[in-house]
Amino acid sequence: MIDTLPIKTSTGRPLRKEEMVINMGPQHPSTHGVLRLEVVLDGEIVVDVIPHMGYLHRCFEKHSEHMTNYQQVIPYADRMDYLASMNNDWGYALAVERLLKIEVPPRVEYIRVIMAELQRIASHLIAVGTYGIDMGAFTPFLWCFRDRERILDLFEMTCGARLLYNYIWVGGLSHDIPPGFVDKAKAFCKYFLPNIKELNDLLTYNTIFVKRTADIGVLPADVAINYACSGPMLRGSGVSFDLRRDDPYGVYDKFEWNVEVGKGEMGTLGDCWDRYIVRVREMEQSVKIIEQALAAIPEGDVQSALPKRIRPDAGEIYVRTETPRGELGFYVISDGSATPYRVKARAPAFVNLSVMSEISRGCMIADLVAIVGSVDIVLGEVDR
């Protein structure tokens, strides 16, 4: 009796008779972008998942080599993770600053922290809100977008843009914060904290939501480390690791805050609910950091350290920063000229997505949606 079909998956595995292949995406609402999942199914049970990406590939790394100077790469870095542009700018700017061995003024450091943490909240709000939609809850999504709008207003009054800012430059910032920003940001923090509680009541501890996410897509800590997961993905598995604390940059060491980790409260440690709750709790921590930074922001000129010409000595550096999705690394090689010789971006979403097929084998197809959502991918960053 023949039990395999003359059909193969794209990894070359022959299909068994009872299996079928279904394409989820590229245009599928629950893939959060243009991602195609080739799903091998045995009835309702997922046997294998083969992600296909590259639909949004815009040659970030090749473009970087063809700019006329280092500063011009920043708008491209903006467009990698378009939900967390501030964090991307900072990662790249920091890499070049370390190559140049320049220090930025304290005021710049504080503003960068404030912007990065506001951006983290905005990004987590999207992650949390769309995750609610994936699980069939529509209202939290609208609430999250309502709050995110206020953050975008703050960014708009600072630099004029709402999504792609080109704000953090090598050695400084494009604009100082405008008059009234500090008060508005403080008002936002005050307004936002009760909303997290509201969100928890509506979504986090909702029985249906918990049933859909607890014990699903369990990612053990050793697998997470082996696949180099980072950010909420790694912390959800109980590993207390945050680059802001463990490989410090900026002025994060001046503030009091905690690294949130998953504890397996609703089921197994490292399940989808744990990854979700880490994001929710991180928003509270970010508010804490913002409040402290706003209270201590020093005076100064934000453009005093901007280099006139950027020509680092020949050398190379790998700098990693913590974005909402995890470890964003920039490996920059300089050959002494005015353009980077090579820029490699280590995108956290790309790396986090690679563990997905590992954790979704054996789950039901409806749970696959929960797993993809809990990874919190941004395809702009996966494909670069």
């Binding site: 590259g54 480390i225 490996y331 690679s354």
Partner: protein, 158 residues
């Protein structure tokens, strides 16, 4: 552990597979033989005093001396130390041993290096292109790459 101690340990165990090193760089690196990367990485991961369990980044570089190289940035979550490994290979016969059996994350990084730089990773379980289409001509991140005038019968704008 300091980079010097790591280098000494590697030298003692792998001898001539450890080629050169630059420990006074801001991020010290050690270059290794391209056909021994797997054993060396298993050693780095499993030795109790090293425990390099986290591959931060795997990058491919087209160097000025016409060689290709793969750069491994590894880190230990328990020992909190870092080291950079490099493996060089010739342009026309770019073969490097895969480390995807050591760190799962290397799987996709190596596919990306294969796609963008044309480096073949021996013993890789699933070496397919990852970002470019399967029929795309050439490896875009090589320095001598020319954008084709036509792709699939469509004129490429620039």
């Amino acid at each position: 552990m300091t980079p010097q101690e790591i280098l000494d340990q590697l030298r003692a165990n792998f001898g001539e597979a450890i080629l050169e090193s630059k420990l006074d760089a801001p991020q010290p690196w050690i270059s290794v033989a391209p056909n021994r990367t797997k054993d060396i990485c298993f050693f780095l991961r499993d030795t109790a005093s090293l425990q390099f369990d986290y591959l931060m980044c795997l990058s491919s570089v087209d160097n000025k001396d016409k060689q290709l190289s793969v750069v491994y940035h590894v880190w230990s979550t328990t020992q909190k130390h870092k080291i950079v490994l490099k493996a060089f290979c010739p342009r026309d016969n770019a073969h490097i041993q895969s480390v995807s059996s050591v760190w799962g994350t290397a799987d996709w990084h190596e596919r990306e290096a294969f796609d963008m730089m044309g480096i073949v990773f021996d013993e890789h379980p699933d070496l397919r292109r990852i970002l470019c289409p399967d029929d795309y001509p050439g490896n875009p991140l090589r320095k001598d790459f020319k954008v084709p005038e036509f792709y699939q019968g469509i004129k490429v704008p620039y």
